[in-house]
């Protein structure tokens, strides 16, 4: 079967969080701005002005401040970004039903066959950019190509405010000298192996037959590297791309060593994750704990439950058990809780052992209802009364992946 040529658009908002801040507060325009959690947190987003100082997201805040002492640091306002994101996604959905949001500021749109309706793709793309700018005051970068992989590569070409097209007949020449390091999905380990072979560009990969790669990387991985470097990606735009995990994490104001305090944070994070699960009516089976020490070394530990859950207590119980097995020589600067193995399998109530889980579920449901009516701070678990202020700000990290 011959596959028809698809037209896929990838849209990436430019320095999203920082741009929203600059838009909402005109005094910040033209100044280096980062968004992030407190003095000890990390940079969640950096404006283009800040990037000129070598500041990038995921950089520890103290380092960013060293590079640029007059840097403006703004707290993360997740709710506001979600609001703006909604406006952007609605604009995309008005053009095609096939919109796959990748994250809060990124999405794929399948424009195949919309030429009749909206005109050529580059005209549609320009129209999208104009509408987003009018509605939100923000710029974005857009890539158009025959598949998701190339569309994403294209949108990254002329940032900010870019519009790049890779038509089918230009793929070969475009990829010839394109660095494999910039191909999404090719990780550091693969890159290292490739560099040992002296391979730096996609053209060098495709210069060898696919068997050359399957012999060295195994059947699956070899084929995959070859396909990626050839710009092949059959993955369809999936409008209902389910989240793979739901998580919450915090970088603490000060590195922590005390169990009592750490346990409270873990309960807080477990509760945040469980609430999100319940809000979406889904369940998770695998609980993962992430711990980052004061030397930035990070470990994760997971455990899979016999039955999927959305209960705060159950998740917290597993997290505590995992935490008990974590090495404790150093102070801890970050903890995170996430749940994966998500299913819409809904809560089948259990006859025997899960009577406890059923009780917890009723407590969760009651707490959720009160929070829904009176706000997130209206009730909290007794153990968390002194973490009151902390529950209010959702640092927005560990969003659904």
């Amino acid at each position: 079967m011959k596959q028809r040529v698809r037209t896929i658009l990838h849209l990436d908002m430019d320095a999203f969080y920082a741009s929203v801040e600059q838009h909402d507060d005109p005094a910040l325009r033209g100044r280096p701005v980062v968004v992030g959690g407190g003095k000890r947190g990390v940079v969640s987003a950096a404006s283009y002005e800040a990037r000129r100082y070598g500041i990038h997201s995921a950089m520890p805040m103290f380092q960013a401040l060293q590079k640029c002492p007059h840097l403006v640091v703004r707290p993360v306002r997740m709710r506001r970004y979600q609001q703006v994101s909604q406006v952007v996604m609605d604009i995309l959905r008005s053009l095609s039903p096939l919109v796959e949001p990748l994250s809060i500021d990124e999405a794929f749109v399948d424009l195949t066959g919309t030429e009749e309706l909206h005109g050529p793709p580059e005209v549609t793309a320009q129209r999208i950019k104009d509408r987003i700018r009018r509605a939100t005051g923000l710029t974005c970068s857009v890539g158009i190509a025959p598949n998701k992989l190339l569309a994403k590569i294209a949108s990254d070409q002329n940032k900010p405010d870019g519009l790049t097209m890779i038509p089918p007949d230009a793929i070969r020449s475009f990829l010839q000298d394109f660095p494999v390091a910039k191909v999404p999905g090719i990780g550091p380990k693969t890159l290292q192996k490739l560099s040992v072979l002296g391979v730096r560009t996609c053209g060098q990969v495709t210069a060898q037959p696919v068997t050359f790669w399957t012999r060295r990387f195994g059947d699956r991985a070899g084929r995959w590297i070859y396909e990626r470097a050839s710009g092949v990606d059959p993955d369809p735009v999936n409008p209902q791309r389910p989240a793979k995990s739901i998580g919450a994490e915090n970088t603490f104001e000060e590195d922590l060593a005390e169990d009592a305090v750490l346990h409270k944070w873990l309960l807080l994070q477990s509760d945040r994750v469980a609430r999100r699960l319940r809000r979406r009516g889904i369940l998770g089976r695998t609980v993962t704990l992430k711990v980052k020490y004061d030397d930035f070394k990070q470990i994760t530990r997971s455990r899979t439950l016999p039955l999927p859950t959305d209960s705060t207590e159950t998740i917290y119980g597993e997290v505590l058990a995992l935490f008990a097995g974590v090495p404790r020589g150093r102070k801890i600067r970050l903890t995170g809780v996430s749940v994966s193995g998500l299913s819409a399998g809904r809560g089948q109530l259990h006859l025997f052992e899960n009577r406890e889980e059923n009780r917890r579920r009723r407590l969760d449901t009651a707490l959720d209802a009160i929070r829904h009516r009176y706000g997130a701070g209206a009730v909290r678990r007794g153990r968390l009364w002194d973490l009151t202020l902390l529950t209010e700000k959702d640092d927005g990290q560990g969003e659904d992946r």
Partner: protein, 369 residues
Amino acid sequence: MKWEIERDALLTALTKVAGITDKKSTMQVLSHVLLEADEDQQLHLSATDLDISLKTQVDAQVSIPGRTTVSARKFLDLVKELRQETIQCELTDNDRLTVVGGRTQYKLATIRAEDFPHFTVSVARQSFDVEAGVLRRALSRTIYTVPMDEDPLSIPGLYWHPVGEELLRMVGSDGHRLAYDQIPFPAARFIGDEAGITIPRKGVQEILRLLEKSHEISLGLHENRLFAQTPNTHLSIQLLEEEFPQYDLIIPDAESGHLEMDREILIGALKRMAVVTDQSWVFVRMTVSDRLLVLEAGNPELGTAQEELPVDYLGDGFSVAYNIRYVIEALQNMQSERVRFQWLDEYHGGMFLEPDNPDHLALVMPMMV
């Protein structure tokens, strides 16, 4: 050892034992059937997986008594293929069992009878007779709830629980649903001091196979083994050690409403709803209001289904979701023309009952949807 036997009788006997043999075991002898030919002109066939053992006997013309073992599966397969009325078997000097049917000759490898695990088929001091049809009905109407796989939250066996002196209740549960059926039986004397006994799933299946061909069966209990006996077959089953949960506590003793309706009509409607369910969207929502039961099922990708059924019900409205397969299976394992659906709230199991038969109950836990 040398004997001659009717092919059909041998086939029946081998079919009985082949199900018991353990194909996955690392002990090869467990995949073998023990053959014992004696002076009383009987061929005894035995098989065991160490938990369940079965011994059956069949008439044969024995010229030289003796014992040996051969692969049960292969012996069964070759007897199936042979078309002669009689089959001759002889253990030869080189430890092969020669099997001759007409002009076909097999020489099967054997393992010495001495290497076959020793098992006793009946040592129960007291045995109790029960009508095959009665026991079969109770077992076959409850085995569907016994989980197939090991799972930490349920017991892979059927619990036999005495209710008073003269009733034996068979209870199965996979943790999400439960069913019981009870039969008249001197249960208290049979079980003795124990609260109850748990028969593993495979054991229940073997009892059911045994019941297919006989009218009466007698049951005995000795040291954690259940013995079931028909005129020519002995079955011995190792009971499960795990304690069966206190199931009676989770059967609601109160109700906030119930309705009765034609069982087949409800099954038909549920099957129509099941078309739009799948593994992640398994539930059916049942909403009861005055004179109406509404069934709804659906799947965001596939679409939804809804059906309204008139019912004789007047009272408070109620809505609950269940795994649709659980409800269908509960209903299919009933025999009455009508079914009574009884509920308390969305946290307690919904009960599906035969209106005039207090001996059967099916309980299905709701889903939070």
